[in-house]
């Protein structure tokens, strides 16, 4: 019985990790850029929501809605001004620039908000739970998981049903030919990063509601997101969800055996998958 409960909690936690990972996966899929500041951008989003909550006195859900366009613009500008300059054959510049960005964001948050841990308080829904007969699940984790599925459905619709998605796929496949068809990659990349920041903001809200956060926890979120992407296989968003679920289940199972093993168990699950299926469970992209 306790194991069923642990399993369900793990699956729901996986939804949060899939949300962390979706933005990373999106940006990598379109422009082959791995953003080492991704985790810190999630934390930045959480602080932005926190500021909106305290300034406008809104519920975190509404505050996140206000934050969405702001983060989109931030991502757009970041890509246009900084990240577009480092795209190319050489992998060193994007890695080092985003690593520098990670340090800048962490310390800026430290300076602005101190290292005290913070929390988003959505009200009674925070502690509400649903009795499903076999197990009792929290409403918030359930909402998180549902949001992850919605985000993935939404992104897939965007990719395969819209002109923008076609442009994304074309640029991802062959940027030079895409340019011949009138697509401007620098602008398109900026939109892609903007969309990734929208996903990041959704992830940030659920992160902030679920647990305490402080400026230093970004890199660990990046690692979970990265593990989910690799386990799932590059280029597959549903794979990313599966990867998030595997990390989540491994973590809750590990924690059930010994609380000190929670994080370790997640990493070990990742290494095992890497050993057995180096290209992930559902590989699609040919890189």
């Amino acid at each position: 019985m306790i194991w069923v409960d642990t399993l369900v909690q793990g699956i729901l936690l996986g939804g949060l990790y899939a949300l962390f990972a979706a933005g990373l996966s999106l940006v990598f899929g379109i422009m082959r850029l791995v953003n080492l500041a991704h985790g810190d951008l999630i934390i930045l989003g959480a602080y932005l929501i926190l500021v909106i909550v305290s300034v406008l006195g809104l519920n975190p859900f509404l505050a996140a809605l206000v934050a969405l366009p702001l983060m989109f613009c931030f991502g757009w500008v970041l890509q246009r001004v900084v990240l577009n300059r480092v795209l190319g054959e050489d992998i060193l510049p994007p890695l080092l620039v985003t690593f520098g960005l990670s340090v800048v964001i962490q310390n800026a948050l430290q300076e602005g908000f101190t290292s005290d841990s913070q929390r988003l308080r959505p009200g009674p829904v925070e502690s509400a739970s649903l009795d499903l007969g076999i197990v009792t699940v929290g409403v918030m984790p359930l909402l998180t998981f549902a949001s992850a599925i919605l985000v993935i459905v939404g992104l897939n619709q965007l990719f395969y049903r819209t002109a923008l998605g076609r442009a994304f796929r074309a640029t991802s496949d062959d940027p030079v030919t895409a340019q011949l068809m009138g697509i401007r990659p620098d602008n398109l990349f900026a939109v892609a990063t903007g969309i990734a920041m929208v996903v990041v903001t959704i992830a940030a809200m659920y992160l902030g509601v679920r647990a305490n956060f402080d400026p230093t926890i970004g890199p660990a979120r990046l690692i979970y997101a990265f593990e989910a992407v690799i386990i799932g296989g590059l280029g597959s968003l549903w794979g990313t969800l599966a990867g998030g679920v595997i990390i989540g289940v491994a973590q809750t199972m590990g924690a059930a055996i010994n609380p000190e093993w929670q994080i370790l168990a997640g990493h070990v699950a990742f290494l095992v998958v890497l050993l057995i299926r180096p290209r992930g469970l559902f590989p699609r992209a040919q890189d």
Binding site: L95, V97, N107, A108, E111, L271
Partner: protein, 355 residues
């Protein structure tokens, strides 16, 4: 006069000869430095030299091997914990525990390489980071050396260290100051061996193969270079050296905890900034970088988060606008290289026609 060796290959330049002589003088000065320097200066020099070693090895990985690792803290921490374990649990003299630290780091590097070499480019970077986290979490379970909260090196361990009484008698200083001098000399030896060793490696045939792999993997393979073997060579060399440096750093610190010894900021982020600011892919770069880093740290470290923010921003700006770093800017303008590795043909037809 017919000359059978009409051509010869040369890497030496006038600047490199001058640099060689200058390096000899600097090393001599650094050896006798404890005779007249304050304890604070010796500690600063220890910091500079050990960071220089870490930077040179990261530069070997990323700048020459194309392996951008964000997980070097795994090897710093393993080296350091080996030293503590060997000294506390088995009573091994810490000086002997230093190479042991390197060997244990090497032993960790073999399975690590097996995992992370499956990942390409940027994913390799995060893969090394994951492994470092795994190593940190495992070491935090090692209760004999303090588990998650860490432990201190007992006073008698450093007190009985080889060469300590000799230094005490030589300079007439107390044990603590003598320990600083011994570790400083060890750091100096390590730095000289590291720079000399890397320079030697780059000038050998392996170094040429390495540069070929970095510039174009496919072309290098076509010429018969075993690219995978070069990656292993560089990764294992760097892990050994980083492990020794980690052991030495924590011998001097005397206190260890998993969070500190496996800190991504201290042992990888700073090291990356040193290499990027100085100039990646050159031996001179990390030397310039570590001096700039030390000066920035001594003037601005009091500003805490602002300082780190500025350091991160500086790294971004240099990567965007001067990707070859400070030394690259200087070298491009003046065409001076202190550690040249490029082979040049000289002699040949010109000497023949002179006859």
């Amino acid at each position: 006069m017919t000359n059978s060796t009409a051509y010869h290959v040369q890497t030496r330049t006038r600047a490199s000869t001058a640099a060689g002589i200058a390096a000899g003088i600097i090393i001599l000065v650094l050896i006798v430095l404890p005779a007249f320097a304050s304890r604070g200066l010796i500690q600063d020099m220890f910091f500079i030299l050990t960071m220089l070693v870490l930077a040179q090895f990261w530069n070997l990985l990323a700048g020459y091997g194309g392996l951008v690792s964000v997980g070097q803290q795994a090897f710093v921490g393993m080296g350091a914990y080996t030293l503590f374990g060997a000294a506390i649990l088995w009573g091994i003299d810490p000086i002997w525990a230093l190479p042991l630290g390197g060997l244990v780091a090497l032993a960790v590097a073999v399975p690590t390489a097996f995992f992370v070499f499956r990942l390409q480019g940027a994913y390799f970077a995060i893969g090394t980071w994951v492994v470092a986290e795994v190593v940190r979490l495992c070491v935090a379970q090692w209760k004999a050396v303090g588990g998650g909260s860490g432990t201190s090196l007992p006073r008698n361990v450093t007190g009985d260290m080889m060469g300590l009484t000799f230094v005490q008698d030589l300079f007439g200083v107390r044990a603590a100051a003598a320990a600083d001098i011994v570790t400083y000399w060890l750091a100096l030896v390590l730095a000289v061996l590291t720079i000399g060793g890397i320079y030697w490696l780059l000038r050998t045939k392996s170094g040429l193969a390495l540069a070929a792999v970095r510039d174009n993997v496919e072309a290098a393979k076509a010429l018969g270079v075993n690219a995978a073997r070069m990656k292993w060579l560089v990764f294992l060399t760097a892990s050994f050296g980083t492990g020794v440096a980690g052991a030495l750093i924590y011998l001097q610190k005397g206190r260890i905890s998993p969070d500190a010894a496996f800190s991504v900021n201290d042992w990888t982020a700073y090291v990356i900034f040193i290499v990027v600011i100085g100039g990646i892919g050159t031996i001179e770069g990390p030397i310039i970088g570590v001096i700039v880093f030390f000066l920035l740290q001594s003037f601005f470290a009091d500003f805490g988060a602002w300082y780190l923010m500025a350091l991160g921003a500086l790294g971004i700006v240099i990567m965007l606008f001067a990707p070859k770093g400070l030394w690259g800017l200087f070298s491009d303008k003046t065409n001076i290289q202190l550690f040249p590795i490029r082979r040049r043909l000289s002699g040949g037809i010109i000497t023949q026609t002179e006859e």
